[in-house]
Amino acid sequence: MADIKNLEGMIDSTPIMKDYADIESSALPEYQIDSKIPEGPLAQKWTNYKAHQKLVNPANKRNLDIIVVGTGLAGASAASTLGELGFNVLNFCIQDSPRRAHSIAAQGGINAAKDYQNDGDSVYRLFYDTVKGGDFRSREANVYRLAEVANNIIDQCVQQGVPFAREYGGLLANRSFGGAQVSRTFYAKGQTGQQLLLGAYASLNRQIQKGTVKSFNRREMLDLVIIDGRARGIIVRNLVTGELERYAAHAVVLATGGYGRTFFLSTNAMGCNGSAAIQAFRRGAYLSNLAFTQIHPTCIPVHGEDQSKLTLMSESLRNDGRIWVPKKKEDAEAIRAGKKKPTDIPDEDRDFYLERRYPAFGNLCPRDIASRAAKERCDAGYGVGTGNAVYLDFKYAINRLGEDVVRDRYGNLFDMYQMISDDNPYETPMMIFPASHYTMGGIWVDYELQTSIKGLFAIGECNFSDHGANRLGASALMQGLADGYFVLPYTMQNYLSDQIKVKHPGTDDPEFDKVEKEVRDRINRLMNIKGTKSPDQIHKRLGHVMWDLVGMGRTLQSLVKAIAEVEEVRKEFYTDLRIVGSADDLNTELEKALRLEDFLVMAKMMAIDALNRNESCGAHFREEYQTADGEAARNDKDYMYVSCWKYTGDNEKPVLLKEPLNYQEIKVQTRNYKS
């Protein structure tokens, strides 16, 4: 601890946290966390689990209904696979078609430890890189399983007809992503997410045709129905008619994505939201590690106040692009004033700060580190563009490989950049800046991907499980598909096996009446505020609070301020919101308002979680806790746990429970990308 440079790190936030969390409560037996990690050596756990878990026989599968909310990589793969097994699946999405879920926008690739390149990859190395990339805050057993099943995903997708990139000899091509020293990323141009999702969508369509999956589009889940302590159904709003609808099942799976749009501006799609997670939270599911939100280093910088979303430039660009800012402040000032162009700056006056600070990984260091380094340079006055941008330069790659090779590798990304920025990246460096992209935190799940509510499962980005404090590139697609194709279809049966004799939970249960009425009351409450501000206006304000105070750098002071300011925005929401139109009709303003109400809860929980975590790790950078050379200073002694927040009431303090993280077969060490 001697190398902590900022003594403000000594500030203790415990007294403040007392206002938000009753930490002592976690000692109570009913609050003990059981992650259900199987016994045995790490490499045998999943094999042993599968060998001994309970299964449901084919005749009984036909009698069991499963609700899957979401049709992204996790949702579509789970729905189709459960359908293939013979369960009756009800599958919901808010878009007009399952094919449009935001997984479709993932660009770069998907990791697997196939070792087709003979460069020393293995299941253990993929596991190790993922745990290290996550700064030792993920659950070891889950990550090992993820690395184990990743190879099956590539086989599955190739058989579906996913046209992955290939070498001239006809075998699959690979490229490198951040945080790895091997080439293990499979890709389909810059549209890997699209191709994988269309693969899952195709499998889903086959089941829809067979009748095992029923697809419900333009439906938004608004609450979870729990009967006798088990998740038994959902209330959804039909987004075309405005009607509330009820659906009952033996189990409910959430595959609803991340909460990155809490920041308003993000690389997430316009409809992405954290609402299902908040509904589950209010019904008893724990939310975990919400402070771990990934700010992606290579996005196109913000251009103005009327902007609605940000665009990501794939991490794969860092294979060949070099990131720099001017070495001299006067050059940076001249560029910002439009007096100099980046091409006027000679190589010796360029600061390739990632290569300088992290020689071993250089431009391919993990996302949290690359983002923070960009912020550090911009805060120090070396930023370009509006001051909040750095260069990603392909001059060197073009000189080395020729323009044709660069065009072949990244042509569609260059075109996309040019369309948005009006600059030609073949001639002048791209300008990039970090933006909210992915959330590692989310709904707490055990090894079986079951939440703390019986019969409620969470998969893909909406759970917290595999990425710790920072996700590596090309691992989101891997996790979503691993959960949906190869994990949940097994683990769910362990739960469903004792449900085969349970009478089908019909929608006429009084609990459905009660929850539907609560949803109706909530909608009426919002409709009747009749203030002056649109949901977007209030959401933008929330976004500023979150970006400024709970963004890439956080302090005790900023987080305390954030909680107060979120409260102010919340007050504005409940007194000055205006929703035009009617509730019993298609109403896009009402949709936004309902999501925003949940983002407000999420925002506060994110700040509370960040305030509780008095350390820097991965994407969570508390400025008080850094080493002398500006790296994250982790505190394994006090914070090597998953924070699990339990809801106790809208205006009550959430309770903090802790799941300790035990690493059996990995040596916990300081993350080093320098040597």
């Binding site: 878009q95 094919r99 196939k114 290939r166 549209q191 829809i208 589009n217 799609a269 002056t532 205006r578």
Partner: protein, 251 residues
């Protein structure tokens, strides 16, 4: 450098599929030329909401040209006047100060209007459900490198698979044909070894479903490919025709 412009909008407003629609005129001022077209519509909707009027309903989600959710017929072109992009990728720098811009929904019998500029493209899902897949269960796949596929073939299959299912091809076609959409999917699988077993059945089933759903016939005008935001090629349609004839001859 970016500057701001004022634009006049003629926008199709329609309450529901069975109701009569009409053009309404709007004006948006001080739009940054760096804004996207949909951000300009967001500004319009903010203005409408402030006046207590219902916003113009349009579909959009990813806003980076890949989800296929956005549509809009802008000045007579699906996805606007710029080739090879979706509406969400269209930027206001492509317009001039005081331009009048006409915005309509996709117009096709198979895509009924839901509200204003939002249409129902469920028919596309139904065509895919009829056969747009390889029939196998998860877990049964051989090793990914077991079957080599030449790079050229994989690249062409990838080009076909790039279709985002937006429906611009149908909107552009005077007959409202979905041939390019169907052809892109049939081509992807016809090119790849994994698609061979069900090749004939797939072509038959998807074409049959397309005909059932009220899409028009293809008369080879090529408007679909000219307006496709992902530049899907007409050679897909030629391939579908070959696939379909071969399947029929085999019957």
């Amino acid at each position: 450098m970016e500057h701001t412009i004022n634009v006049n909008l003629r926008i199709w407003r329609q309450r529901g599929p069975k109701e009569k629609g009409e053009f309404k005129d709007y004006r948006v001022e001080n739009v940054s030329t760096g804004s996207s077209f949909l951000e300009m519509l967001d500004m319009l909707n903010q203005q409408l909401v402030e006046k207590g009027e219902e916003p113009v309903v349009f579909d959009s989600d990813c806003r980076e040209g890949i989800c296929g959710m956005c549509s809009l017929y802008i000045n007579g072109h699906p996805h606007g006047p710029v080739q090879g992009i979706t509406t969400c990728q269209l930027h206001m720098r492509k317009f001039n100060n005081e331009d009048t811009i006409t915005i309509e929904p996709w117009r096709s019998a198979a895509f009924p209007v839901v509200r204003d500029l939002m249409v129902d493209r469920n028919a596309f899902d139904k065509i895919q459900q009829a056969g747009g897949y390889v029939s196998f269960n998860c877990g049964g796949a051989p090793d990914a490198n077991a079957t080599p596929i030449s790079k050229e073939v994989a690249d062409i299959a990838m080009d076909s698979a790039t279709c985002i299912g937006c429906g611009a091809c149908v909107a552009a076609c005077k007959n409202g044909s979905a041939m390019l959409f169907v052809a892109a999917k049939v081509s992807q699988f016809a090119l790849l070894p994994q698609g061979q077993v069900e090749r004939a059945r797939r072509a038959r089933a998807m074409v049959k479903k397309m005909d059932e759903l009220g899409f028009g016939n293809c008369t080879n005008t090529g408007a679909c490919a000219a307006e496709c935001p992902k530049n899907e090629s007409l050679s897909n349609i030629a391939r579908l025709n070959r696939e379909f004839i071969k399947a029929k001859l085999a019957d």
